[in-house]
Symmetry: D2
Subunit: 361 residues, 4 copies
């Protein structure tokens, strides 16, 4: 019986378990492959005793469950692996060990579910001869070559639900509510949440903003009788001429507690130029945990099934992707080139501007 | 100032108000058009005192609200309009009256939001010279020429949430739970709900089913230790050689109380051939009311904005549609030809079969 | 180490796992007791191989999970136990076997979680010498001697969410929506759901109804401009002079498929006397499965902790209960006397009538 | 026709509109009183043009809607009213003006819905001769003389839902998640949320905490195999010997952006003493906006109906309250004496400790 491995890397994301379930079920039903679960991302191929067989019976019930039953790691880059040897912190390359361990496990394919960092590692391992296949995962939706990643839609729904709740407080108190959402260096979550949640202003990294324009918008609303406004700010948004303040690398994403996040800064700036109370909410990790919605469960299932197909067809070095209504695949090489940013002169931004949403430009 | 009209026809559907809001906002912000709201579908162009101006201020707050502020009608076909004259029920053609009334209102464009029946009327009125533009609306997702309709995704989410609840009862009692969902003559809601909700069997109109195959599946699960099973049945599903039992026309869709619905029939048949308790739930109207989810709010907003663009560009006789990630338009002529059914040998059905879901074939 | 047993009987109910978790944690943390889980209600004390040790580690993660990890049975009455011996169906008394098995397991206490039927058995076993303690469980809230049972509040929330969705369809189509909810022989779910969900009419078993009064109410609303109405019907509601149609015993509760449920009957009667469309929805099992809400998780946890306290204090034959804000205990003898029905001349019914809700009287 | 007034003061709270609706409906149905809505709290009795008649028709649809259709104010204390006269900020006493305006409106009763600050004003106005009746409102549940306030249960549910989402991320990443919830100077929200959401540590103002004890708990969990922990921190929690950091008065409650909130401090302290990653989430205003749950809609409706009864019976100077299952009334004098704090040696705290939850003591 052919053996394939599966691991999840990077930040938590709704739908990870749904992918795992689809892989295990499809491997069993369609191909009679055995699936080896690898714990805590690439750590599970470096450290001992971190793999076990996944059976359809063993993974029953995980479809609606958030998180990943395999665990994940945001720090385990095999090419720059941090170890403490004799009390000394060192960074070593364990990629050869991973190759050896995967081989000794008898893996004829390795499904790597992760964001851009994890997929880059998958590509490098592939180039070294490891039979990897990628599944794009991120709530940020910043991975190119796929129309959308799983987890993103759930994050937008959670943030939209939050906006629904904040609207009523804004209206009751005649306030400006500033909501900082995730998204790292791109504005996808902010943009879709802002439109779906009825925001008046959306600030995204792709469009550097002017606080004056934001205040003009709020004041203009006030004049026409709307005594409250909702401002959605992507964590990576930046003022014109300003700097991005997203904390890079492993520390990114939802450190709600960090001082001086862009949401707070924007709130403070707005309060200076208008005569209304301002409140700031930082949604943080709520956006990345919990049960995936129906959309993401479906997409995750499709991705998982297709990933097994890729391995069965020995199409290594590829990543599953959504193109329109079809799930297809693309070379990992195409994926790691750049981030998928929000187009600023077409599509959703233009739609938003058509209904009066201000981007601070 | 240019005037445009807007009406909603057919059954309730999450996202109707989001379209109306986007039309009113975009007409005002982008084009400075005045929007006339027409009440209760085409009734509002036949009966007196059923139109009023819609302003951005007047429609504030409706984005998350289910239903339609304009009201709708499932019976108002202008070409076969039912009236009672002198105590006698008659069916007359009021399409000329509609043309006249639209003209006397000064409408230079008429946005018609509806399902296949309503869009067909829009097309016929267009052929008579009425400047109509269509927006596809149905929870059933059966309209061709668009990848998806608004309302569908919310219906799938509601049904998936229901499945999540039913799973626990099925497992606690070791039961078979049969869930009848909407969808009219097509299986889209059943298919996506079944995959997203972890169903074991999905029965859809496009694949006539054998109860024996269904029981084989349930028994096989029982043997391998799964003491409960979930069966999702589209209201239009039919046994091999059997008849469709969906109630046609205006009476369709969610008459949960109707006797002998296919869900109950399937449940009764299953109970005969397996040694387990069976329970049937008919979701009914829960699937078509209430707040639209983020996906549908976004799609509705995009559709509304694009519908106004079509009118501004005098592209009458067209319908807005989603193609991949883009909102475009297509001739209404293409839309009314046929229903969009589920492909049975590719795509989602194959994905579902890959993870062991049985379609009763 | 002292050993105690735990079993769940009767229909599924949100909060069962939360009670189990609290029992296991409290037994371990506070008393260092060992907890034996007994599967499928009293079946688990009759049939072999249906018990296993429950540890805090083993039950982690079950707090938000609906259903019961122990399984349940709606048919296992030890005093009238159905068996098939030599092909012949027989009803025998296995209560002695249960006593013996409990003893041979070394149980010094047995926590029985269930509704009135299950608690009655617990009381009879207690009278035979079995150290039982009861925990009241039912979504119907019909158990006396406790202000409320766990599961009830979640059922009301699920039904209220459904009403929220149905409102929009009712309004868009100017319809009467009839919603049948559970509750068996009492009207608690209907009453609280009706008030919380904004119903116009509530029909409960405790107040036999006149359809004429219902139609008067709907027509009076129509005259004052409200073109839709919501009617909540308890499954046990009955017309003046009519019969209760709840299916008794194990078959009760949520057989949504049963023909001629009271909801459908009421809908049909209303349609005869008013000039509006009527639609009926039967909520069914959605009300008894799925994750418990915060209220029920808290109550379940308190009940579980107190049940272990009762055993530690050898207060057998008692049931935990909520009195105001306090969790206390009461003799099982008090519990099994009668059902807790809705008072018809005070409290919630009067509150409902004060805001214009009609009870068909 | 008798006239009564109604106003809402203090922070937003789920259920305000449900009270308003019940007052208007009950006043109309039961007493034929006319209800005058007063905007923006006591501001509406100081400034011109801020009152209007509320009719059953006018308030239809508001039951599930969050916020308050009357608007509120957190700054309008009539006894210390802030005005700007000739460019100079002044604080004046406008209580006489309020009395006069209420009289000139012909109000024979004034329903004041608010928290402790607003109710204190209601009591002082009552002492001056104003026919006030109070309705206790606060998500914090800190008002004495009532078992619970409306809004509290919804806040707990929202926070519990958040914990459900955070659990999966904590487990996937083997992290400690610190969640700061509201509650002002009391620990009710933290306590009920912590139990319902499966927290391992709960820190409340009533029990000063030791970070060492918290770390002991987390480490002990880690040793027994639980690689993640959830810590719920009330915004008013304080270390042993430390200071309360809640921002007092009008600025309190959910200023998520404030630097150095107790959640962040606790997170930072924990990170110092354990070898795990820590993340902090501040829930903020999500807890006070949005639709009330079924529990709060029911309680709000009961409070509203009873408030009108009090006025009809000329029982001024009283506040409606919940005692066990009954809605009663109590003198406002009893209400304003002190805050209702969490008992630390009985009830819920003891329940929580029985299942191993640590309070840092």
């Amino acid at each position: 019986m052919k053996k394939i491995g599966i691991l999840t890397g990077g930040g938590d994301c709704p739908g990870l378990n749904a992918v795992i379930r689809a892989v295990v079920k499809s491997a069993s039903v369609k191909y009679n492959f055995e699936v080896i679960g690898i714990e805590d991302g690439f750590d599970g191929l470096v450290l001992p005793n971190k793999t076990h067989v996944l059976t359809p019976w063993g993974i029953r019930g995980i479809l609606p469950v958030g998180g990943t039953i395999l665990g994940t790691s945001t720090r385990a880059n095999p090419f720059e692996y941090k170890v403490i040897q004799d009390g000394v912190h060192e960074v070593i390359d364990v990629s050869r060990d991973i190759m050896r361990n995967a081989e000794s496990l008898g893996l004829e394919g390795l499904i790597v579910i992760g964001g851009d960092g994890t997929l880059r590692i998958a590509y490098e391992l592939y180039n070294m001869g490891c039979p990897t296949v990628g599944v794009p995962k991120t709530i940020d939706n910043d991975i190119p070559a796929t129309d959308v990643t799983f987890g993103f839609n759930t994050a937008v729904q959670v943030a939209t639900d939050a906006l629904d709740r904040l609207h009523t407080t804004a209206e009751s108190h005649h306030r400006v509510m500033v909501v900082e959402v995730m998204g790292r260096y791109v504005g996808w979550i902010a943009l879709e949440t802002g439109i779906s949640g009825g925001a008046d202003v959306i600030l995204i990294p792709e469009i550097p903003f002017s606080v004056d324009k934001v205040c003009d918008k709020i004041n203009s609303r006030k004049k026409s009788g709307s005594r409250s406004s909702i401002v959605v700010v992507a964590e990576g948004a930046k003022p014109i001429g300003g700097e991005v303040t997203v904390i890079s690398g492993a520390e990114r994403g939802g450190r709600a507690e960090r001082l001086g996040g862009i949401g707070s800064k924007v709130g403070a700036e707005i309060e200076k130029c208008i005569d209304m109370e301002v409140r700031v909410t930082v949604l943080g990790h709520l956006q990345r945990g919990g049960t995936p919605n129906a959309f993401d469960r479906l997409l995750s299932t499709r991705f998982g099934v297709t990933a097994v197909d890729l391995i069965a067809n020995k199409r290594f070095g590829e990543m599953v992707c959504l193109k329109g209504q079809r799930v297809e695949s693309v070379s990992l090489k195409e994926v790691i080139k750049e981030q998928k940013t929000v187009p600023t002169e077409e599509g959703l931004v233009k739609t938003a501007e058509s209904i009066g949403i201000c981007f601070g430009r």
